[in-house]
């Protein structure tokens, strides 16, 4: 919403400066988005007249002028040396006294001598004022211009344009008068009284209303004005409209636009001679096309409220009129429409058709229901004044809706809700300035009648209880009604005083030492993040959606996870895993020449059946290593392998408190991994904690990463909360452990895990640890065989082991491994 300072002053009697006004607007909730004060930089320039212009004695191209720039300011007779070819006696000009900054030339002029002749100022071109194009000479003002005026004032440039943001609840501030009312209530002056004169109709309107859609339009007024002479509107009106960003069209249209801004009251004018028949009908659209005033063609549907004549739709009610019946310079008879339209229907119609207009903006926020009659009178008056003619009687369909509402305030609530002590008299006075009237008042509180223009206060309570909520809504609505209007009133009182007046109070501590802010699951994510970063991986944040093709590389792409209205075709599918965005990020880095890297992201992946809730959103820590390790002396750069990421996976799981001995690893990772070099980490038979491996070369190539790459995905939701058991005393045996190595020959298909598990279980009371230290294939072992070398640590408890006991324990290990895996001891 834009307005000029002078327009505001039509409604607000104030001595406040522009700065005070903008500060107050910000404070009271009418946020200032910009102030355009073209006059400020031109305040020193004055209108002047060249009294005489003589040839400079010492310079061919200069003239010595005697200038009258206003005797009252001491510039009644100034000598100015001027080089402009058009400087001549009798010309009205723009004069800059010494000390003036010339914005167009970036200089400040001084009094001095030019070639021996005194010069006490400068005569300026519009370019020098920063206003116009390059020109041959100085600006020529109209002949009858009085010398000594402020040029900015003379040219209408001293009227700052203020633009404010209007929140959806403040339809009343889409009017200069509404803004003035708020400012007056905030203590910045007085709202000037406004009363529209009444224009008596002297004939019956040849056009009448037929309202067949009263839900959409409870009340509509109109009247015909005949014998008008339409044409350009006067300069003051054109200036105002231009200043607020509107293009002056013609007087009749300009009048409607003026009241749209002045009173927040949109009007529409039909060329009465182009309306077919004698009736304008308000009805639902029926699929007809309307060429609207913006030149677009729109098809009216049954949810639209339209205004139609005998030929069909002529206007989208409250949104935009039609081109055919619009008022033009040839219009001699005009029908003025002034209606109340349902805000919701206007909003939805406008949104459906994609039409934005000043009318829609106002109707969808709600129009003052008490204003139509006087607004129509005011508009009639202005049309008659600007265009002449005579007005008919007013025709009307429907009645003003019942808008009277009351709102109660317990004064104590200013403190217990607003947090500030306000004297009751002060609160009541603030509300009265906003147009509230006191109905009843006592020590505890007061009840007010809400002004007609504040449709945001004490409105009927609409709730949105859950669909499955079976509680009776009536008492719930009553509980809201008991406090809601009061909240509105507290807000009004507070905002007029300024919220900076509310003292800031710290919350009382819940406990002297704060409790943990994170749940165990949240803490897991934080720990995983720090751990992965400390292992050299760099954290990324990727979009949760990607292209369907990209997502399909990593999992299912169900329709239920595809956006209906993506912002771009390649951002339409919810990603199954952060890998789906991490891998392209790696490819982009590689394309930039950063060929070796390690990235990770902790974020959502979608479509995981194991996680409850819509969309199967799982928290996934995904890490990706690509390219080679660092090249350092003595160590060749090795390509990343599954072992790198398996180490990442196990390090995270260990840090998260997962018992390592409870984990099993199987070779059934999904298809975005290399089928033979990837695995799944489970706890128990079902719970998948992680999957890892080298990426399938085809997947890497599909995103443009043609180099070794290995990844891990950790499912943080699946990690169980660590049991907070008290640890018993540690076992610290005094006897030395005994280590024995075994080399088993097994079939190629036997896993290391099977051998280790069998060995570990062979003699639980004695075996303290089992580890694999060598794998050997080929040689004399023959095809399909391999050798796994393990170390078993025997921990004696009470006394040292004898050779025989050690022998027996070793035999148990061999037997257990042989039984479980078919292994034989390597000879």
């Amino acid at each position: 919403m834009k307005f000029t300072l002078s327009w505001l002053r039509d409604h607000l009697d104030t001595t406040a400066t522009l700065g005070e006004i903008t500060d107050a607007l910000n404070r009271i909730g009418l946020e200032v988005e910009g102030v355009e004060d073209r006059g400020a930089s031109l305040s020193a320039f004055r209108t002047a007249r060249i009294v005489s212009a003589e040839q400079h004695p010492n310079a061919d191209r200069l003239r010595v002028c005697r200038v009258d720039a206003g005797a009252e300011q001491g510039f009644g007779d100034v000598q100015v040396v001027c080089g402009a070819p058009n400087a001549r006696a009798g010309l009205s000009v723009i004069f800059a006294p010494p000390g003036t900054f010339i914005p167009g030339s970036n200089i400040t002029i001084k009094a001095g001598e030019i070639r021996g002749e005194k010069s006490g100022g400068m005569l300026c071109s519009l370019r020098e004022l920063g206003l116009g194009e390059e020109s041959d000479g100085i600006a020529e003002l109209p002949d009858n211009t009085t010398p000594g005026q402020s040029y900015a004032n003379f040219a209408g440039l001293d009227d700052p344009v203020i633009e404010i943001a209007i929140t959806p609840n403040r339809g009343d501030a889409l009017a200069v008068r509404g803004i003035a009312r708020d400012l007056a209530a905030a203590g910045l002056g007085h709202l000037r009284p406004w009363l529209a004169g009444t224009v008596e109709g002297i004939f019956d309107s040849p056009i009448g209303w037929d309202n067949r859609f009263p839900e959409a339009c409870p009340m509509v007024l109109g009247r015909t004005i005949r014998g008008v002479r339409n044409g350009p509107s006067p300069a003051w009106l054109q200036e105002r409209l231009r200043a607020v960003g509107l293009r002056p069209i013609n007087a009749l249209v300009d009048v409607t636009n003026f009241f749209s801004f002045d009173l927040g009251r949109p009007l529409h004018v039909f060329d009465a001679d182009k309306v077919a028949g004698d009736t304008l009908t308000l009805r639902r659209g029926a699929g007809e096309t309307l060429r609207a005033l913006d030149g677009g063609d729109y098809v009216a549907d049954a949810e639209d409220c339209v205004i139609a004549d005998a030929n069909g739709v002529q206007s989208f009610a409250g949104i935009m009129g039609g081109e055919h019946t619009g008022a033009t310079e040839q219009t001699t008879s005009v029908f003025v429409e002034c209606a109340l339209f349902d805000p919701v229907r206007v909003a939805l119609s406008g949104r459906r058709h994609g039409i934005t207009s000043d009318a829609r903006q106002r109707f969808e926020r709600g129009i003052d229901p008490a204003l139509p009659v006087s607004a129509l009178e005011a508009a009639t008056g202005m049309i008659l004044e600007l265009c002449g003619g005579e007005a008919s009687e007013v025709v009307q369909a429907g009645d003003a809706p019942r808008w009277h509402r009351s709102a109660a305030l317990r004064f104590d609530r200013l403190r217990t809700l607003g947090g500030v002590e306000v004297a009751p008299d002060e609160a009541v006075s603030s509300l009265e300035h906003l147009g509230f009237t006191v109905r009843r008042r006592d020590d505890q509180g007061a009840e007010f009648e809400v002004p007609s223009w504040r449709n945001d206060i004490a409105m009927p309570v609409e709730l949105a209880l859950r669909a499955d909520d079976t509680t009776d809504p009536a008492p719930v609505r009553a509980s809201v009604a008991a406090v809601e209007a009061e909240c509105d009133l507290v807000e009004e009182v507070l905002r007029l005083r300024g919220l900076d007046a509310v003292p800031a109070v710290p919350l009382l501590p819940v406990s002297p030492v704060p409790l943990p802010a994170l749940t165990a699951r949240q803490a897991r994510a934080a720990l995983a993040r720090r751990l992965l970063a400390s292992r050299g991986l760099v954290e990324c944040v990727g979009f949760s959606f990607t292209s369907c093709a990209q997502a399909a590389l990593f999992g299912e792409t169900p329709d239920t996870l595809r956006l209906l209205n993506p912002i771009a075709a390649d951002l339409d599918q919810m990603r199954p895993t952060p890998l789906a965005t991490l891998l392209p990020a790696a490819a982009r880095n590689a394309a930039r020449g950063l060929a070796d890297g390690a990235l990770f992201e902790i974020g959502p992946g979608f479509g995981h059946p194991a996680t409850p809730g819509d969309g199967g959103q799982a928290l996934v820590a995904a890490a990706l290593r690509f390219g080679h390790g660092a090249r350092v002396p003595g160590r060749p750069a090795a390509p990343v392998t599954l072992w790198d990421v398996k180490a990442d996976a196990l390090a995270v799981l260990a840090a998260l408190g997962v018992p390592m001995e409870a984990l099993s690893v199987t070779a059934d990772a999904p298809s975005h991994y290399h089928p033979g070099r990837s695995g799944v980490v489970r706890q128990g038979p079902k719970t998948v904690l992680a999957r890892f491996g080298e990426l399938h070369p085809a997947v890497a190539r599909a995103v443009g990463l043609d180099m070794p790459a290995a990844a891990v995905e950790l499912f943080l939701d699946a990690v169980p909360d660590p049991k907070r058991r008290r640890k018993g005393a540690p076992e610290l045996p005094s006897l030395q452990p005994v280590r024995r190595d075994f080399a088993f020959v097994v079939g190629q298909e036997v896993t290391a895990e099977a051998v280790l598990r069998a060995a570990r279980g062979a003699e639980r009371s004695l075996i303290a640890g089992v580890s694999l230290f060598d794998v050997f294939e080929g040689g004399t072992l023959g095809e399909g065989r391999k050798s796994l070398a393990i170390e078993v640590v025997f921990q004696p408890r009470e006394r040292s082991l004898t050779e025989n006991e050690l022998e027996a324990a070793s035999n148990k290990v061999m037997a257990a491994v042989a039984k479980a895996t078919g292994a034989v001891l390597r000879g």
């Binding site: 909730g29 809700l417 949105a464 919350l507 819940v510 704060p514 994170l518 400390s534 050299g536 390690a598």
Partner: protein, 381 residues
């Protein structure tokens, strides 16, 4: 150094007594010469064994002493003992010297170029968005807030309706919402990507009885993509609900106190100017926007005379409380919300929003923070 050691090898310090037999004199000279000639510990050990070993020459002479004539035995014994002491000392000294020489040679051989790079993998880094969230958790955690979370795919009810934003509400046009196909039995538009994390506030109120103090950082989505908008971004909202009356009533004063404390701690400026302006949100009443002081010219926070909007807030609307099953006559509270990217960009002087999501390693290495940098109040943020 080795020359010094060599020159300190034992030499006859005193003239050999005249009464010493020629054989001992010769032995002495021979041993001393060979010690001097010994260039390594092996040669030295051979000399030692040859002289003082079980069957060493001096050992043999001492053994023979018993067969010496009694009148000579005394003098010869004394001479042998002196010789044994002297040679023993000389051998030990030479041994030490050779030891030192050998160690010195080894150390010389093991010398390396200490300027060689060690090849430690480049340090990993935390994304600035995560960093900001950690800091928010630390600050609000100290004020008794805990962290709440909810799904990115929300229902229309949680994201809008329950928040007093019905379908026709003009505020909805500010949210360019991404929609997903409705689930079974749902209407088009009923399933969406959350445009704000407020749905988690709703879930929190439905699941927990007041008092409530939560912050909700998380991903949010709006169909907007240009230099200053990203279709995905992060918000952190906060919700406090407590009694509506009495000494424990949660008022707008608490909202101001909480927000001011947070902003000053986050920007590490105890006197950061904070301004409150009346505003409007469908889910709060009264509502306000919060500005901090900054300099438009330099971008410096807390300096200059300009104001920068960083946060929206207000007292929870009675309808929102009622929609969540809380009686607004009994309970009231405040809520606030802020853009995590915006605060991050301000704090670290990051010029471009979109770069946050591109995964460019050069950018990440510039703005990322070490995983060991504390996000703990007692160590400093």
């Amino acid at each position: 150094m080795s020359d010094d050691l060599a020159s300190s090898a034992p030499r006859p310090a005193d003239p050999v007594p005249t009464d010493v037999a020629d054989d001992l004199r010769a032995l002495r000279q021979e041993v001393l010469d060979s010690l001097e000639a010994a260039s390594d510990l092996r040669a030295w050990d051979a000399i030692r064994v040859g002289v003082l070993g079980k069957s060493g020459r001096l050992t043999a002479l001492l053994k023979e002493l018993g067969r010496t004539a009694p009148e000579e035995r005394r003098a010869r014994g004394a001479a042998l003992n002196r010789l044994r002491d002297e040679l023993g000392g000389a051998i030990e000294a030479r041994g030490k010297a050779l030891d030192a020489e050998a160690l010195d040679a080894r150390l010389r051989a093991e010398r390396v170029d200490v300027t060689l790079p060690v090849g430690t993998p480049a340090s990993g880094l935390i994304h600035p968005i995560s960093r900001t969230i950690e800091e928010m958790v630390a600050i609000f955690g100290a004020m008794g807030f805990s962290l709440a979370e909810g799904p990115d795919i929300e229902t229309d009810w949680h994201n809008f309706s329950a928040l007093n934003t019905p379908a026709h509400h003009p505020a909805r046009t500010d949210h360019d919402t991404f929609y997903l196909p409705p689930g079974a039995g749902g209407a088009v538009g009923s399933r969406l990507l959350r445009t704000q994390t407020s749905g988690v506030q709703i879930r929190t109120m439905l699941q927990n009885k007041p008092p409530i103090r939560v912050i909700v950082p998380g991903r949010t989505y709006r169909a907007d993509h240009d230099a200053t908008h990203s279709p995905m971004f992060h918000q952190c909202e906060g919700l406090v609900v407590g009694p509506a009356a009495g000494d424990g009533a949660i008022t707008l004063g608490h909202l101001k106190g909480t927000v001011i404390e947070f902003l000053r701690a986050f920007f590490n400026q105890p006197a950061l100017p904070v301004r409150f302006r009346a505003s409007y949100f469908p889910f709060t009443e009264p509502s306000m926007e919060v500005d901090i002081g900054w300099s438009r010219a330099t971008g410096e926070i807390g300096a200059g005379t300009d104001w920068l909007e960083v946060l929206g807030s207000g007292m929870v609307h009675p309808r929102v409380l009622a929609n969540c099953g809380l009686d607004p006559r009994e309970w009231q509270g405040f809520a606030f919300g802020m853009g995590i990217e915006r605060l991050t960009m301000l704090k670290h002087g990051i010029p471009d929003l979109r770069s946050m999501f591109e995964g460019d390693l050069r950018w990440l290495r510039h703005y990322g923070s070490s995983p060991l940098t504390p996000a703990l109040l007692h160590e400093g943020l």
